[in-house]
């Protein structure tokens, strides 16, 4: 079995769904070790999952964009002899793993959906219009570095694959924060929605310019469905909802089981972020809106009528 190093840029009290998914992916490939960038207190209790090997971290927490995480990763790779290094495809993790690949003089595959036992990566490309398979050209001593898109494994499947285990061993590596270079002057936490994280949500409700400024009805619908709340760039640019909610080429890529699009025309940049959804429902008052070309179920109508009626019907059905 190969050794697999999983990188978490930050680790809280409990693993996020994306982090659990990554461990499940990694365990199908070999013996899993974990490197943690930012943490508070002791990072090991959150990793009490069976068959986790070593947990590597630095003497002090290394919050992104601290480049010393690359030193941490490089040392951890040497310690555990990792043949595969995995992380999520977020900005900060991509930065760290991209640098690591240069140091290890190896290739990196970004935005992977699945990795099989032969280390062949399956990816969705060109905004979901292609599926490709690619692999590292084999060479002795050359590990694979890859970033994963979340939401490729069912949460139930992840739960079935991961079993609670003993608290793993922590190894503190002699890595210190960098000096000079990039100095952080200010950090402002972005408001986190209590709803499921967009990229990981199984259901997404998204609104566009047609929402005309008020997202209340969409929020209610999202809550009825346990959905994440998304938006088009027109809606985020207008300031009706935070930028983090933007779905699309330059926002979040989502691949939920169900995507409900309301008052969104379906421009190519919006489609790039959602067209791999399992089922797409679109509500738009313009029957020629391009979103209808990709909708499994479309309603030509006013979202201000349709959404409240959906909410009412969902509530009625739940009794």
């Amino acid at each position: 079995m190969s050794n697999v190093l999983v990188f978490f840029d930050e680790l809280g009290d409990a693993l996020s769904p994306a982090q659990r998914e990554l461990i499940a992916q990694a365990q199908s490939l070999g013996d899993v070790h974990v490197a943690v960038g930012a943490y508070q207190g002791d990072p090991t209790p959150a990793l009490a999952i069976s068959d986790i090997g070593e947990v590597y971290f630095a003497e002090s927490s290394l919050p992104a964009p601290e480049v010393a995480v690359v030193d941490l990763l490089e040392t951890a790779v040497a310690e555990c002899g990792a043949e595969v290094i995995l992380g999520s495809s977020t900005a900060d993790i991509t930065d760290a793993l991209a640098r690591l690949a240069v140091r290890l003089d190896t290739g990196i595959i970004c935005g992977v959906g699945a990795l099989n036992g032969e280390l062949v990566a399956t990816k969705s490309e060109l905004a979901g219009s292609y599926t490709t398979m690619s692999q590292l050209i084999p060479a002795p001593g050359r590990p694979l570095v890859a970033t994963f898109k979340p939401n490729n494994l069912d949460p139930q499947r992840v739960d079935a694959l991961l079993h609670a285990g003993d608290q793993p061993d922590g190894t503190v590596l002699p890595v210190r924060p960098s000096v000079g270079g990039v100095e952080i002057l200010e950090r402002t936490a972005l408001s986190v929605s209590a709803r499921p994280a967009l990229a990981e949500a199984r259901v997404v409700v998204a609104g566009g310019r047609g929402v005309e400024g008020d997202f209340t009805a969409l929020e209610e619908l999202a809550d009825e469905l346990g959905a994440g709340l998304g938006a088009s760039r027109a809606a985020t640019d207008a300031g009706w909802i935070e930028h983090a909610a933007q779905v699309g080429q330059t926002g979040v890529t989502v691949s939920p089981q169900l995507y409900i699009s309301a008052g969104i025309s379906g421009a190519i940049q919006q489609r790039a972020g959602m067209q791999t959804a399992g089922t797409i429902v679109a509500i738009n008052k313009d029957e020629d809106a391009p979103v209808f070309e990709i909708a499994d179920f479309g309603v030509v109508g006013d979202l201000h009528d349709v959404i409240p009626q959906m909410i009412e019907e969902l509530r009625r059905r739940r009794g």
Binding site: P65, V67, V70, T90, A91, T94, D95, A98, A101, V102, G107, C110, G111, V120, L126, A127, G128, S129, Y130, T131, T132, M133, S134, Q135, L136, R142, G180, G181, V182, E183, I184, E186, R187, T188, A189, L190, V192, V203, H243, Q249, V281, I283, E287, E293, A295, F297, G298, V299, V300, G301, D305, V306, I307, P308, Q309, M310, I311, E313, L314, R317
Partner: protein, 271 residues
């Protein structure tokens, strides 16, 4: 002048137009016979021009650099029309099929060659590389960090605003869960998002003026690289076009569409 000159090298990529059908060829490579300047690379270019315009007591030059097939000269020509001072194009047969690893090797050598070629009136320049947030067709966003690692430069990705201070650049960036204001020293590589500005369009005068601006074409040997130094580490095995999504059932709201949507969701077991 009080401050050292600044050489801003903006990377612009020539990519297949996302508005048209994009495809892979039989060799498993993206068909690059037609293309445009990547929309996402207009933001770093605009950021560079704004930094140049805001610098009062500093000589600032904006150079556009592209790596790509012959057609990619249109990307740097467009950058010249938009406002870059000069431009470089790196083209070589050996770069066909370059992966992230190989692209960053070539771009590193090209950036160093560009920095070495620039002559400034007011002294030794510092340099700053600006890139887009991601390639429009590759969407990895991994090049900026790889390039910085190879150049021994600092990196800041996903910048939403940039401002020159005397000895460093102040950048606001959006990390995943927080917004950060950082100060970065040169040399630096900064990737710029589409939230940073509204890119300008070239006017007729600028288009005419661009014809007189220098455009230098290089191959690998010109920047001191051998073909075997840019051999890809990753290979594509198969590419499969997904059947395009087809339209499903479309209904017109007759006062009960909300009920029908919920019925559909129930039937599809999505509730």
């Amino acid at each position: 002048m009080v401050n050292a000159p600044l050489h801003i090298i903006t990377l612009v990529k020539w990519v297949p137009d996302a508005q048209l059908e994009r495809r892979y060829d039989a060799e498993g490579r993206i068909d690059r016979s037609e293309g445009v300047l990547s929309e996402l690379d207009e933001y770093p270019l605009e950021a560079a021009l704004q930094l140049r315009e805001a610098a009062q007591d500093r000589e600032v030059r904006v150079t556009a650099l592209t790596m790509g097939p012959a057609g990619s000269s249109t990307a740097v020509k467009k950058a010249l029309q938009i406002g870059a001072d000069d431009a470089y194009q790196l083209t070589d047969e050996a770069l066909i099929g370059a992966d992230i690893w190989a692209s960053s090797v070539a771009l590193k050598a090209a950036v160093e060659a560009v920095a070495g070629a620039g002559e400034f009136d007011s002294g030794e320049p510092e340099y700053l590389v600006l890139t887009g947030m991601a390639s429009e067709e590759g969407e990895s966003g991994a090049i900026p960090a790889q390039l910085a690692e190879r150049l021994g430069a600092h990196v800041v990705t996903y910048a939403t605003s940039l401002e020159l201070a005397p000895d460093r650049l102040l950048v606001t960036r959006s990390g995943g869960t927080e917004s950060q204001k950082v100060a970065v020293r040169m040399p630096a590589v900064v990737s710029v998002t589409d939230q940073a500005n509204d890119p300008r369009y070239p006017n007729f005068k600028a288009i005419m003026a661009a014809k007189k601006k220098p455009l230098t074409r290089w191959n690998l040997a010109d920047i001191g690289l051998r073909p075997e130094e840019v051999t890809a580490k990753v290979r594509v095995l198969t590419t499969t076009a997904r059947p395009p999504r087809t339209a499903g059932e479309i209904i017109i709201d007759e006062g009960d569409a909300g009920l029908k949507v919920v019925e559909f969701l129930a039937k599809e077991r999505l509730l």
